[in-house]
Structure formats: C-alpha cells, structure tokens
C-alpha cells in the first residue's frame, strides 16, 4: 500500500469520527475543538491531493477563524460550562430534519449516478503544478482572474468597515445616552 493510502486511512476515520462527535457534543467549547480536529484532517487530505497551498490556507484561515469562535463562546457563555444550547427558534428542529433528509437523499442519488467519483486523475495536473502549487495558483489568481479577485477583496473590506461603523454608532449612542443621564443626575 503506498504511503498516501496509509495516511488517508489513518486520517479519514478521525475526520468522520470528529465530525459526528462534534454534532452530538453538548458542550460548545468541546464542539469547537472537535471542529478543529476535523479541519486539520481535511487539511491533510488537501496535502495528499497535491495542494499544499490549500493545506496551509485551511490551517491558517480556518484555525484562525475557529479561534475567534472560541473567544466568542468563552465571552458570551462565560466560564461556567454546561447545557447552554437551548432551542430558541420555533420550528427549527423539523426544518433541520427535513432539509437534512433531502441532502442525504441527494447525496445518495448522486453517488448512485456516479457523480463526484473521478475514475482517473485530473488531466494535466502535474503540468499545471510544475513550478510549485502555490505559484500555479498565484498565476491563475493574479493574471487570469485578477479583476474578480480584487473586486472580491474590496467587497470584503467594505463589509468589514460597514460592520465597524454600525457597531461604533450603536456604542456611541449608548455612551451618549449614559452621559446625558449622568448630566441630568439620574445616575448617581
């Protein structure tokens, strides 16, 4: 058995197990931890498929993003762990079950129809990656798709700035109201 297959069969069960464990986990921080395990396994799969750049991005971006999620969990739920996940939205559970079943059916029929199972390796993959995977990706992103790439980054920046402006306004309104109340002597 080639080394790639050994690595795959070591990491694939971990990936599936961590995903399932994450779903049934009641503790939010433990769930986030299991999600990280899952993301690392997927990163290893990218490495096996000859996409080291995607591996690095998966680890840096997703692990970094989960980090923020972690902080939110810790800050919002506090130190006391426990059953904090209560159902808030009405009718969420039946909707989730219905959509999940639909997805399962879709995957089942897609697999039966043979979609998503490449019988042979993609054509010309080695040739494209000749100068290195990251370099090949950079060539595509910054030459062929330069304009869409830059437009997307501008969109993201605009969204981030908009969120900051909205949050700022709310915070300022609150502090202003507080200051006025204090000025009228309502807050001792």
């Amino acid at each position: 058995m080639p080394l790639d297959n050994v690595v795959f069969w070591v990491f694939a069960p971990i990936a599936v197990a961590s995903a399932i464990a994450m779903l049934v986990q009641r503790n939010a921080v433990h769930a986030a931890l299991l999600l990280i395990v899952n993301f690392f396994c997927i990163a290893v799969f990218y490495l096996l498929l000859g996409a080291p750049f995607l591996f690095a991005v998966q680890v840096i971006v997703y692990a970094g993003a989960i980090m923020v999620l972690f902080l939110f969990v810790i800050m919002l739920l506090g130190v006391d762990r426990g059953d904090t996940l209560r159902e808030r939205l009405v009718g969420q559970r039946p909707a989730a079950i219905g959509l999940g079943l639909a997805l399962a059916l879709e995957v089942f029929f897609a697999v039966r129809a043979g979609v998503g199972f490449a019988a042979k390796a993609p054509v010309g993959f080695e040739k494209v990656n000749a100068g290195g995977n990251a370099q090949a990706l950079a060539r595509v992103l910054f030459r062929d798709y330069f304009f869409p790439f830059e437009a997307t980054s501008v969109l993201l920046i605009v969204a981030a700035i908009a969120a900051m402006v909205l949050a700022q306004r709310k915070a300022r309104a609150i502090t202003q109201a507080g200051a006025e109340a204090a000025g009228r002597g309502e807050v001792a």
Partner: protein, 386 residues
C-alpha cells in the same frame, strides 16, 4: 524510499528534537545569566560549571512535583492544552535549514527536516495551534485569572500574527520564493555598497528589508509572549496568567514550549533576514562545520537581542500594546509591502532608470509639499515672539 532512507529520516527527527531541547536548556541559562549580569547579580551558579545545568535541575524538580488538577477544571482539555502549546513549536522548526548537508552511508543528508515548497506558510500555519494551547489552558482551568490571561494573550497573538505575516510577505515578495532553502540561496553573494568594488557586504535580506526585519522582531516578541509583551502572565495583575493552575510536568511543558517557540522564531529571523547558514567559510576539514557554526552564532545573536530587550524595557500597558499593533505596526507593514511590490515589479516593467527618476521626483515633491506648512508656521511663530 528504502529502509535506509527511513532510518536516516527518523534519526534526523530524533537528533533535531534533542538538539532543540539542549539549545533551550542553554538558552534559559544564558538568559538568566545575562539578565543577572545587567542587574549586577551572579545568577545561577550552583548546578554545574557556572550554573549551566540549572535548567536540567529545574526540569528534574518539575518532573517529580505533584501534578494537581483543579476540581473545577475541564479534564480532557486541561490535559491537552500543554501538549498543544509545546508541539507546534517543534513542528515549525522542521522547515528551517540549519546547515548544508552531510554525506553518510552514500546518501546526501540535508541539515533540514523537510524542504517543503510552502516553507513560510508552514511556519504561519504552525503559529495558530500554539494560540490554542494558551486559550484552552486558560479556559479549562476553571478559574478567573487564567481565563483573563488567556483571553488577553490570544487577542494579542492574533493581532501580532497579522503584523508578522505582513513582514514575511515583504520578504517573500523580495526573494520570490516560499521555500526556506530557496530564500537562503537567494541571499548568497555580496552587495557592493555605494556602487564601489570594495566594501562588500553579504546579500542578507535585512539590508534591503530592514523595516520588515524590525517589524518581524517586534511581532516575534509579542508572538512568544516575551517581555515587554508578556501581558498574558503579568504577575502584578494576573498571578501567572494562563498557567496559574498548572503545576509539575504540565507546567514544564508550557515553559519548554515557550522557549522552543523563542528558538524557532529566532531561527526564522536568521533564515529569512540574516542569510541563514551562510557566512565566510574558511578551509576546514569538515565541510558542514562552518555553516552549522554560522547558523548557531546568528541564532545566539538574535537571542541576545531578545534577552537585552527583556532586561531593559518595562512591560507595556495592554491598551497601548493593542493600539501599537493595530495602528502602527499593521499600517506600516502594509505600506512596506506596497513599497516592496513597487520596487520588485516596476523596474521589470519600466526599466531601472525611469523608476529611480520617478521615485526621486515623487519623494522630492512629497518632502517639498510637507515642508511648506511648517515653513509658514515657523515664520508666524517668529512674528508672535517679536
């Protein structure tokens, strides 16, 4: 790959692992001695000659201490956190070339664990699990000081990772490679300063990339939670920060992880900015000796700078630290990346001479325009005074 290759690979991993442990041992002694010297103390002096075995003694002591788990702790996470804080630092070292290669059993064995073509990205990727160790330690201890310390330190590390990433981006744009070996090769040869034939200087990246070097040094201090950025464990405010509730071998793992991290970060500085293992090689009996020696010398030099900073600067206030990172380092890094891009790409497109003339013209205009208001106000002040 046959059996011999596997044996050599495993041997390299084991050797690098133990070499890192020994370097850490010496580093801690070195740091304590230098700091003691600057405070006119003797420093450790009992264990071994001049106290060089102090770290070993500390390690043995910690090993045999009782490991206490707080009743409030989240057990599995509490146990995983020290491991997460220690291993990524070792893993990041895997891409660092610390010498040329050596010929054994008919094979060329490089002085590097893995020359992967995403070298710098691997280093960044290994920086993120490290943060988890600290956050999880703080959260799982089930106590307030560790939690506060870990929230602080994770915010700090995420912020300074951005600045660090920007300085690394500038280097990789300048050298045009992601692989560590390729970056070291790019730094071969000499500059001829001032266009003169004499006064040769090695083509190390810290000359053309000096601002990026400074940004990297500052960010690396913050990344490794070293003074003056050690707010995660500010003992005047937070007892010991995220590892307050840890004792015995688990605490030793945090301690070790922090120092391995320091070594790794310094080794990256050496590789990317100081020419890696390159240096004048005098004829020697053993050809791999000089590169290894140069690498170690440069490593000690960077460490010495870290220790000097620790011994001289007071701890920063937390809000100042954050605003320095976000409002100074990151904008500066962005501008520097832009400038590096212009320097790399524009001469290819327009030719060297045109770009130099253009840059001089822009610089002159900017200087002139920015000095105009100052000239006028200076005149007014004179009038008021008279």
């Amino acid at each position: 790959m046959d059996l011999l290759d596997w044996v050599l690979l495993v041997a390299r991993v084991v050797i690098v692992f133990f070499a890192l442990l020994i370097v850490v041992m010496v580093l801690i002694w070195f740091e304590r001695k230098v700091v003691a010297d600057m405070q006119t103390r003797v420093g450790p002096m009992r264990a071994g000659p001049r106290g060089v075995l102090i770290t070993l003694a500390d390690g043995v002591k910690l090993f045999f201490k009782e490991g206490i788990t707080p009743t409030n702790a989240d057990r599995p996470v509490y146990a995983i956190a020290p491991i997460l804080a220690m291993f990524p630092a070792f893993l990041a070292f895997a891409v660092i070339p610390f010498g040329t290669h050596v010929h054994v059993f008919g094979r060329d064995v490089p002085f590097q664990l893995a020359d992967i073509n995403i070298g710098i990205l691997w280093v960044l990727a290994m920086a993120s699990p490290n943060v988890y160790g600290i956050v999880l330690a703080g959260w799982s201890s089930g106590s307030n000081y560790p939690l506060l310390g870990s929230v602080r330190s994770s915010a700090q590390m995420i912020s300074y990772e951005v600045g660090m990433g920007l300085s690394l981006v500038a280097v990789l744009m300048y050298s045009g490679h992601l692989s560590m070996t390729a970056i070291v090769d790019q730094q071969a040869g000499v500059f001829h300063l001032l266009g003169l034939g004499w006064l040769p200087f090695p083509r190390w990246n810290f000359v053309p990339q000096f601002p990026a070097f400074v940004v990297y040094l500052i960010c690396s201090l913050a990344e490794t939670n070293r003074p003056p950025f050690d707010l995660a464990e500010a003992e005047t405010e937070l007892v010991a920060g995220f590892h307050t509730e840890y004792s015995g071998i688990k605490f030793a793992m945090f301690y070790l992880g922090e120092y391995v991290n320091t070594v790794t970060v310094a080794a990256i500085a050496v590789t990317l900015f100081l020419g890696g293992w390159r240096g004048p090689a005098y004829p020697a009996v053993i050809h791999w000796f000089w590169p290894l020696l140069w690498f170690l010398l440069k490593l000690v030099l960077v460490m010495y700078v870290y220790v000097l900073i620790r011994a001289t600067l007071p701890r920063m206030r937390y809000d100042r630290l954050m605003s320095f990172g976000w409002k100074v380092l990151i904008p500066f890094g962005l501008v520097w990346v832009l400038a590096t891009g212009a320097v790399v790409v524009l001469p290819e497109v327009y030719g060297r001479r045109a770009v130099l003339v253009g840059a001089a013209a822009i610089l002159g205009t900017v200087l002139l325009v920015s000095s105009l208001p100052a000239l006028f106000t200076a005149g007014k002040k004179e009038q008021v005074r008279s």
